[in-house]
C-alpha cells in the first residue's frame, strides 16, 4: 500500500494499513479468495485462524502463512453444531472475513427448493449465524472489523445466477442492521461486492469465462485484489467505515 519504494514509506504504510498482531478469522480459506486473504493478512502481521472444509488444501494454506501463531480448523460451516463449536473454541477476534461460499447457478424457473435452500444455507445463513454465535460468546473485540464477501451478482441482473444472487443480496440486507447493532462497541461490518475474480469457482466453464472477461475494462480480478481491499477494511485505516457496500470490479460496465 505504499506510494514509493522508500523504506520510510513502507514503515508508514505498515503503521496505517498493517494488522500488527490482530487476530483474524478467515472462512473458506482452503482456496481462492479466502486463501489469498489469509496469506495477505499474515503478511501484514496478523495472527490467523483459517477455516475450511478440505483438510489437505487447508493445511496447504496454513503452511503458506508468514509468521507465527496461526491456527487451522477444519470446519463444515453449514453444520449448526460445527459453527457453535468454532465460536466456543476460537480466541477473541479483531477481524473476520467471511469468504466461504458456493456457486448457486440455476434458472429461477427451474430451481429446486432444496438447491435454493442449500445455497442460502452456505452463502447467507452460515456466515450470519457464525457471526451471531461469536458475538454472543463475546469473541468479537471492541473495534473489530467484520467483512462479508457478497458479489456484483447481488447488484446486477444476470440470467441463470438467481440463487447465488439472492444469497449474496441477503448478506447486504442483514449487514446494515448488524452494523447498527454492533456500532456501540466500535465494531464495524462491511460488505465487498467483487466482480469476476479468477478462481476455480469460475474457470471451470471456459467459454463463458472468456466471454465474460471482455466486459471488464481492467480485466477480471485476481484474488490478491480482493485481499488488498480486505487489508484496508480490517485495519484501523477504516475505523469509521461501517455498513459500506463496496463494489470492486475493474470498472465493469454491466455484468
Amino acid at each position: 500500500m505504499t506510494l514509493t519504494d522508500s523504506e520510510n514509506g513502507r514503515i508508514a504504510a505498515r503503521q496505517t494499513f498493517g494488522l500488527n498482531e490482530k487476530k483474524i478469522l478467515v472462512t473458506g480459506a482452503s482456496k481462492g479468495i479466502g486463501r489469498e486473504v489469509a496469506i495477505q493478512c499474515a503478511a501484514a502481521g496478523a495472527r490467523l485462524l483459517v477455516c475450511g472444509r478440505d483438510t489437505s488444501r487447508l493445511s496447504d494454506t496454513f503452511m503458506s502463512l508468514e509468521g507465527h501463531g496461526h491456527v487451522a480448523i477444519e470446519c463444515e460451516l453449514t453444520d449448526e453444531r460445527a459453527r457453535q463449536r468454532l465460536a466456543l473454541e476460537c480466541e477473541q477476534l479483531d477481524g473476520i472475513v467471511h469468504c466461504a461460499g458456493i456457486r448457486g447457478l440455476s434458472p429461477m424457473k427451474m430451481v429446486s427448493e432444496s438447491f435454493l435452500l442449500q445455497v442460502m444455507q452456505t452463502n447467507y445463513v452460515a456466515p450470519m449465524m457464525l457471526t451471531r454465535h461469536l458475538l454472543a460468546r463475546g469473541k468479537v473485540s471492541t473495534g473489530a472489523s467484520l467483512v462479508f464477501m457478497s458479489s456484483i451478482a447481488a447488484l446486477t441482473g444476470t440470467a441463470g445466477v438467481g440463487p447465488y444472487a439472492g444469497s449474496k443480496a441477503a448478506l447486504i440486507g442483514s449487514v446494515r442492521p448488524l452494523a447498527l447493532e454492533v456500532a456501540k462497541r466500535g465494531v464495524r461490518a462491511n460488505v465487498l461486492c467483487p466482480g469476476l475474480v479468477e478462481t476455480t469457482l469460475i474457470t471451470e466453464d471456459k467459454t463463458w469465462f472468456e466471454e465474460s472477461c471482455k466486459r471488464y475494462p481492467l480485466g477480471i480480478g485476481q484474488p490478491g485484489d480482493i485481499a488488498h481491499a480486505c487489508l484496508y477494511f480490517l485495519s484501523d485505516a477504516s475505523r469509521k467505515v461501517t455498513g459500506c457496500v463496496f463494489s470492486m470490479d475493474g470498472g465493469v460496465e454491466f455484468a
Binding site: 500500500m1 520510510n8 514509506g9 496505517t16 452494523a179 485484489d225 481491499a229 485505516a237 469509521k240
Partner: protein, 238 residues
Amino acid sequence: MIVITGASSGIGASVAQSCARLGAKVVLTGRDAVRLQTVSSSLPGSLHQTVVGDLLDGATLEAIINSEESFDGLVSCAGIASLVPMRMSSQGYLKGLLDVNYVAPMDLTRLMIQSKKLRHGSSLVYVSALSARAAPQAAGAYSASKAALEAAVRTIGLEHAKHRIRANCIAPGYVETPMLQKLSGTSNLTQKISLAPLGTLTPDDVAPAAVWLLSSASKWITRSTLTIDGGISLPIRS
C-alpha cells in the same frame, strides 16, 4: 507525484500529510497562500510544490499542469458547501456550486489527460459527499453538484481504463473541517452530526482511503464510491 487540490485545510491537508508520509511527492493547490505554505512546510520529504490560486481560473490549472513533467494521481478535495432551500436557490447560486464542486475538478482532469502527463496506471480520487445520495434539507445544490461529480467520474473510469487510469470517489459523511464549521454557524448541525453510530469523523479518518485508492493495492478498483460516514447513512434509503 500526486496533485492534491484543496490542500490548505481539512481533508486535503490531511491527505497531503498521508501521501507525503508514505513517500509521495505532492503538488498542493489552494487559494490561501499562507495556509498552503504552512501545510507544505509541515510535510516530510522535500521536492513538494505549491500552486496558489482558484481552480476556476485557467491560469491556476495551467500552473498545476506545468508544475511537473508527469503525474501519478490526483486527489480532488477542493469544494464548497452552503445550505439554502431549493425554493431560494437562484440560478447563480446553483451554477456557483456546480462550478467549484463539479466543473473545476473535471476541467483539471481534462487538462491532466490532454497534456498526456498522466502516467499509465495513474489513479484519480475525488472527494464527493454522502449528500450526493442522502440529499438532506437545504443541501440540494450541494448534493446535486456532488452527484454530478460522481456520475462523471464513473465515465472517466470507463474512458481511460485502456491506459489503466482509474477513477474513484470517496463519499464522506459529516467530517470536522473548517468547511463544516462554517456550515454549523448558519444552522444547527451539531445534533445531526452526533447521530453517527461510530461518532464524529476527522479528516484523518478519510485520508487513508485516499492513499489506498491511489496505491497499486487498489489496481482493480475503478468507477467505485467508498462511503466513509461512521454509519450515519445506515438508516437512509439511497
